[in-house]
């Protein structure tokens, strides 16, 4: 429906490339930097307009190029789209903070990763006759939102560390990079991991069962190894947070490590062949 609407408006969706929305997000980031020097309403609204334009182009691109889901490219594109929506809503919620300085680079990083992801022609979701469609969808959705949660927790952790160091340097009141307070950042982090961990675990379990059923992947498959390691770090993070009652800096550092494993899970299959459909379908 949105696709036909855009076509109806005379937009040629085939001409929308990754560079269109990457440029919008990059400009929004530049304006975020500019706002540090000269805060003001016009810049803020221009930045929002750019992010919104990027979001429209991003959606149109996914609608025309990444559907049906094929390969890791489309999954990372979806992940970056959800984070772009999150960024845009945050620009209204956290108006006076340098929110975008932390969120936009993650979005741009994911867009860049998607750009270089091998594009498999094989659909991720199998045809209905194979009878696994619903489980593959659940596996995909759970993992996608688990990854969104981890990305949000990562950004909150980065902000937490910067804010913490500002406080330690006693430079927080005149800080050139304004940020939400530590408690708010902890709350964002806590909510994000509380949502992400169960989703991520369920997604992995379903994927594991599918793998056993189809026997399509080996135990040494790069996707499986990196996802398993990511889950272990994630579990360690939850353990440290809730059982050992560790808070603050160490939790933030562990979250950054977990995000590193998420990136590894996206990048490693380029070099270490994987049979997973999102890795390009290399057997």
């Amino acid at each position: 429906m949105p696709l036909s609407l855009l076509h109806g408006l005379g937009m040629n969706l085939d001409r929308i490339s990754i560079y269109c929305f990457a440029a919008c997000y990059t400009l929004a980031f530049v304006l975020e930097l500019g706002e540090l020097l000269r805060p003001g309403r016009p810049l803020r609204w221009l930045r929002r307009a750019l992010a919104a334009a990027g979001l429209v182009a991003h959606t149109a691109y996914i609608a025309s190029n990444a559907m049906p889901l094929q390969g890791g490219h489309s999954v990372v594109m979806l992940l970056s789209l959800i984070l772009a929506v999150y960024y845009l809503s945050g620009t209204f919620h956290y108006q006076r903070t340098a929110w975008g300085l932390f969120v936009l680079p993650v979005i741009l990083l994911l867009v860049a990763l998607a750009r270089w992801q091998p594009q498999s022609l094989a659909p991720i979701v199998p045809p209905p006759e194979q009878g696994q469609q619903i489980w593959v969808w659940l596996h995909l959705v759970f993992l996608l939102f688990g990854q969104v949660g981890l990305c949000v927790a990562f950004m909150a952790s980065l902000m937490y560390l910067v804010k913490w160091s500002q406080l330690r340097r006693k430079s927080v009141l005149g800080a050139s990079v304004p940020m939400p307070n530590l408690e708010r950042l902890e709350t964002i982090h806590r909510r994000a991991v509380n949502l992400a961990f169960p989703l991520f675990t369920c997604g992995l379990l379903i994927g594991f069962l599918l793998m056993l059923q189809t026997g399509s992947m080996r135990w040494s498959d790069s996707k499986l190894v990196t996802a398993g390691l990511l889950w272990i770090v994630f579990a360690l993070l939850m353990l440290v947070r809730y059982l050992l009652h560790v808070r603050g800096r160490w939790v933030a550092l562990l979250t950054i490590l977990a995000f590193g494993f998420l990136l590894a899970a996206l990048v490693l299959p380029w070099f270490w062949p994987s049979a997973h459909p999102t890795a390009g379908g290399v057997p």
Partner: protein, 420 residues
């Protein structure tokens, strides 16, 4: 025309400023009397650091007369006031008003309280009925100037009182305070001020510990808190999210060993410590514990205060430029408003005369000129009119913009018998 007569902390000693300060209740009466006697608009701004009276009228009273009135009202010897007062007229008075309201003329540059005081003075004069179009325009423009300076510069940013700076730090750590436990250790004078600021955040629980149980009880009841026996200080340290310390102890009360002993039972909860005591109550090394998000002492806060003041000083040129620009804009707008109708009337009068002359001339030359010649004659007369009027109109506009005299303006009205 606007005239300002005033004295402030730079020109008058405290004793004189004290005697010049009008009690709020006496202001309306003074304003009403002045207006009745002088027939001018009047606003009185009276704060602890300044007393300024703004007059506006086409014919202003003499400075001596104004000073005599002020002296009579405040029961002072007029000769004692002479040196303490400054007089500003027209654009200079507007410039002064804008600077004062923006905090550029304040003892602590950039303080924002004065903008509210100027607004209150204006509103009181409005209620008393002593404000007319000139002072209305000036004070309403003042509000815009203050707003613009706050939006475009950082002149009013940051706090300069040590207690409020300490509280600002808490806002950088905590999002909400209704669930927070505050431990106050033997608050001295500065601690009590900080506690008052802290209460405005609405903390969940306030525990007050003092070596003297009576003092702890008194302070606790004053701040709706709970007194904590000094011997149970460690219990308070175990629970607290915020520790505010300002005792008179000569040795640190919160040592590393003491904090290390209680931190294990804090459940990983973080804490902010505000040490407002001199000598310090908290060992600096306590800041190294992971649970301590922030340890701030008096030196840190003084340093921050100096940083805020330095930053404000850096913003002064930008704010002064805005003031200068706005004064110029105000004077231009104002001159257009009062000279505009007279100039328009002059143009209309001359247009009528020109059309009369042009008609007579063309009637005499009837049949001798074609359409192009008639256009040339009309154009020549129009050009002559514009050239003749250019100099007097410019002079009247310049006079209006300077805001000082109305001589040329009045002369123009009389010479051309204009009805404005």
């Amino acid at each position: 025309m606007i005239r300002l007569v005033g004295a402030n902390f730079r020109t008058a000693p405290l004793e004189l400023r004290e005697r010049l300060a009008w009690p709020a209740a006496a202001v309306p009466d003074f304003l009403a009397r002045c207006q009745m006697d002088l027939g001018s608009e009047i606003v009185l701004l009276s704060t602890c650091n300044r007393t300024e009276i703004y007059f506006a009228s086409s014919e202003l009273p003499s400075v001596d007369d104004l000073i005599r009135r002020i002296a009579n009202d405040r029961q002072l010897d007029p000769s004692a006031l002479g040196d303490g007062f400054y007089i500003r007229d027209a654009a200079n008075a507007v410039h002064h008003l804008f600077r004062v309201a923006a905090g550029l003329d304040s003892l602590v540059v950039g303080e924002s309280q004065i903008a509210g005081q100027a607004q209150t003075a204006y509103e009181l004069a409005v209620r008393t009925g002593t404000v007319g179009p000139t002072l209305h325009a000036a004070f309403q423009h003042t509000r815009q100037v203050v707003k613009r300076i706050r939006a475009e510069t950082r002149l009013a940013e940051g706090k300069v009182s040590v207690a409020s700076l300490a509280i600002d730090h808490l806002r950088q750590v905590f999002d909400r305070f209704d669930s927070k436990i505050v431990l106050v250790m033997g608050p001295g004078k500065m601690g009590a001020v900080a506690l008052r600021h802290l209460q405005t955040l609405g903390p969940g629980t306030i525990l007050v510990a003092n070596r003297s149980p009576e003092k702890a009880l008194a302070m606790a009841s004053a701040c709706n808190g709970q007194a904590l026996p000094w011997e149970r200080l460690d219990d308070g340290l175990r629970q607290a999210h915020i520790v505010l310390s300002a005792t008179g102890a000569s040795e640190p009360i919160l040592t590393c060993a003491r904090f290390d002993a209680v931190r294990r039972s804090r459940g990983g909860r973080h804490v902010v410590i505000l040490d407002l005591a001199v000598p310090r109550d908290v060992e600096p090394a306590v800041a190294e514990f992971e649970e301590v998000d922030l340890l701030v002492n008096v030196d840190d806060l003084q340093q921050l205060r100096a940083d805020v003041l330095r930053e404000r000083a850096r913003q002064v040129p930008a704010a002064e430029a805005i003031v200068a620009h706005e004064v110029d804009r105000f004077m231009r707008d104002w001159s257009r408003r009062w000279a505009g109708p007279a100039i328009a009337a002059l143009h209309a009068e001359c247009d009528t005369l020109r059309h009369e002359v042009e008609s007579q001339c063309l009637a005499r030359l009837n049949g001798k000129l074609d359409e192009a010649d008639k256009q040339v004659v009309a154009g020549a007369l129009r050009l002559l009119q514009n050239k003749l009027l250019h100099a007097p109109i410019s002079a009247v506009q310049d006079e209006a913009q300077s805001g000082k005299e109305r001589g040329l303006f009045d002369a123009l009205i009389k010479l051309f018998r204009l009805k404005t």
